[in-house]
C-alpha cells in the first residue's frame, strides 16, 4: 500500500513537471534577461526546454520497460517461439523483440540458445533484428522529439523490416551457412519448458525499473545533453532549408547514401537523434533521416564481428544485405508519405 502511494505520487509529480516545462523554460529565459528573438536566446530556449523534456520522457519509458522486463525473460520468449513456423513466428518474434531484455553482448548466446530450442533460423533473425532496432530508448527519443506519430511509424517500419528480413532468410534455407558446431546443436535440447519465471514481489520489480533507469539514462544522458546542445546551435544559427539540397526528399540517392554511412557507425540513438532533429528542421527529409538512424542501430560492425563466431561470411552478408535493403525501402516510403514534416 505504501508502495502504491509512492508510485502514484511519483507519477503525479512527473506529469506536473512535464506539462509545465515550456512555461518554466520561458521563465528561466526571462530571468536571464535574454530575448528569444536573438539567435543565442532562441538556441538557449531550445536547449533548456528540450533537455529536460527528452530526459524525463526517457526516464519514464526506461523505468516502465525495466519493470516489464521482469515479466519477460529471454527464456520465456524462447519457450514461446520454440517450434513456430515462418510467418506468424516471425511476427511474434519481432514483437517480442521490443519487450524482451536484450543487450548486444548477449546476442550470440541468445542466438544459439534459440536455435538449440528449435526456434527456426528465420524466426531467430526476426528477433535479433527487431530487439536492438526497435528499442525503448529510440522510441522514447523519437516520441520526445518528433511526436507520437513518428515514433509509432518507426516502430511499425522497424517491425516490418525485422519480419520481412527474417522471413527472407528463413526462405533462403541458410542453415548450412551456420558454423558447423552450431548446426549440430540445433534442436538439441528440449529446454525452454522448464522455465517458470521468477516469482517476484512488486517491490522487487519496481527496484529493477530503477536499476534499469540508472543503467540506461546514466549512460546516455550526456550524449543527449551534447546532442541537444549541438542541435540548439544548428537550430539558432544554420539557415532554413540549408539541408534541403543534400538530405531533402528530392535527392533520391540520399537514402542509400544515408544507409551506407550508417553501417560502419556504432552509436546509440541518444547521440544522433538530437542532431538529426535539428537537421530535419532545416529541410532534411524524414525518410532519409530514419534510414540513417535504423542502419546505425541495426547494422553495426562490432555486432557482425561477434556474429562471425556462429555465422559463415555468406550468411552475414545476406543478413546485412537483406536488412539494408529493407531499411532503404523504409526510407523511400517515408520520403514519399512525408515529403515535408
Amino acid at each position: 500500500m505504501k508502495l502504491a502511494g509512492l508510485a502514484a505520487s511519483a507519477v503525479v509529480a512527473w506529469l506536473l513537471l512535464y506539462s509545465n516545462l515550456e512555461p518554466l523554460a520561458d521563465m528561466l529565459l526571462h530571468v536571464s534577461g535574454l530575448s528569444s528573438a536573438t539567435r543565442f536566446g532562441e538556441a538557449l530556449h531550445f536547449f533548456i526546454y528540450e533537455v529536460p523534456k527528452v530526459l524525463m520522457l526517457l526516464t519514464a519509458v526506461v523505468f516502465v520497460m525495466g519493470v516489464v522486463h521482469t515479466f519477460i525473460s529471454p527464456e520465456r520468449t524462447r519457450a514461446i517461439l520454440s517450434g513456430r513456423r515462418l510467418g506468424a513466428g516471425n511476427m511474434l518474434a519481432a514483437s517480442l523483440g521490443i519487450v524482451t531484455p536484450f543487450c548486444s553482448c548477449s546476442a550470440v548466446p541468445l542466438f544459439i540458445g534459440f536455435l538449440q530450442a528449435g526456434v527456426p533460423l528465420g524466426v531467430t533473425f526476426s528477433f535479433l533484428i527487431s530487439a536492438p532496432m526497435v528499442n525503448e530508448v529510440a522510441l522514447a527519443l523519437l516520441f520526445g522529439m518528433f511526436g507520437w506519430k513518428v515514433a509509432l511509424l518507426y516502430m511499425a517500419m522497424g517491425l516490418l523490416v525485422a519480419i520481412v528480413a527474417g522471413m527472407t532468410i528463413g526462405r533462403l534455407g541458410m542453415e548450412r551457412y551456420l558454423e558447423e558446431w552450431v548446426q549440430q546443436i540445433q534442436q538439441s535440447c528440449s529446454c525452454g519448458s522448464e522455465e517458470t519465471g521468477e516469482a517476484m514481489t512488486w517491490n522487487r520489480r519496481l527496484q529493477e525499473g530503477v536499476t534499469h533507469v540508472r543503467e540506461i539514462v546514466g549512460k546516455v544522458w550526456l550524449y543527449i545533453v551534447l546532442g541537444v546542445g549541438l542541435g540548439a546551435g544548428i537550430h539558432g544559427y544554420v539557415p532554413e532549408n540549408f539541408m534541403a539540397s543534400i538530405m531533402g526528399a528530392e535527392a533520391w540517392w540520399s537514402v542509400p547514401a544515408a544507409v551506407l554511412l550508417g553501417v560502419p557507425m556504432y552509436s546509440n540513438a541518444a547521440g544522433i537523434l538530437p542532431v538529426v532533429q535539428a537537421l530535419l528542421g532545416k529541410g532534411a527529409a524524414l525518410g532519409t533521416v530514419m534510414a540513417f538512424m535504423m542502419s546505425v542501430i541495426a547494422l553495426s560492425a562490432p555486432e557482425m564481428i561477434i556474429l562471425r563466431k556462429v555465422l559463415r561470411p555468406q550468411l552475414i552478408a545476406v543478413f546485412a544485405g537483406v536488412v539494408a535493403a529493407g531499411i532503404m525501402l523504409v526510407g523511400f516510403v517515408f520520403n514519399a508519405v512525408f515529403p515535408t514534416l
Binding site: S73, P74, E75, R78, P101, C103, C105, S106, V108, P109, L110, I112, G113, F114, Q116, W181, I185, C189, C191, T211, I306, K309, V310
Partner: protein, 78 residues
C-alpha cells in the same frame, strides 16, 4: 572450496561482474576459486541466454545482470 565461474564473452558487464565477485570474495573471506569462461561453446553448455552469468559449484545462480554486492554475497555463500 567453492568453484566460481563467470560466463561472458568479454563484454563490459562481464568484466564488471568478475570484479564485483572478486571484491566480495576477498572482503568476505570466502574460500573460492574464480574462473572466467569466455569460450562461447563452453558458455552454451550452461544453457544461459544472457551474459554475464554467475555459476557457483556448477549451478547458474544469476544471469544477464550485475547484482549488488549484498546480493552477490548471498549468491556466493548460499
Amino acid at each position: 572450496m567453492k568453484q566460481v565461474k563467470i560466463l561472458g564473452t568479454g563484454c563490459a558487464k562481464c568484466n564488471q561482474l568478475a570484479d564485483a565477485v572478486k571484491a566480495v570474495i576477498s572482503s568476505e573471506n570466502i574460500d573460492a576459486s574464480v574462473e572466467k569462461i569466455e569460450d562461447i561453446q563452453k558458455i552454451m553448455a550452461y544453457n544461459v541466454l544472457s551474459t554475464p552469468a554467475l555459476v557457483v559449484d556448477g549451478e547458474v545462480r544469476c544471469k544477464g545482470r550485475v547484482p549488488s554486492s549484498t546480493e552477490l554475497k548471498d549468491l556466493l555463500t548460499r
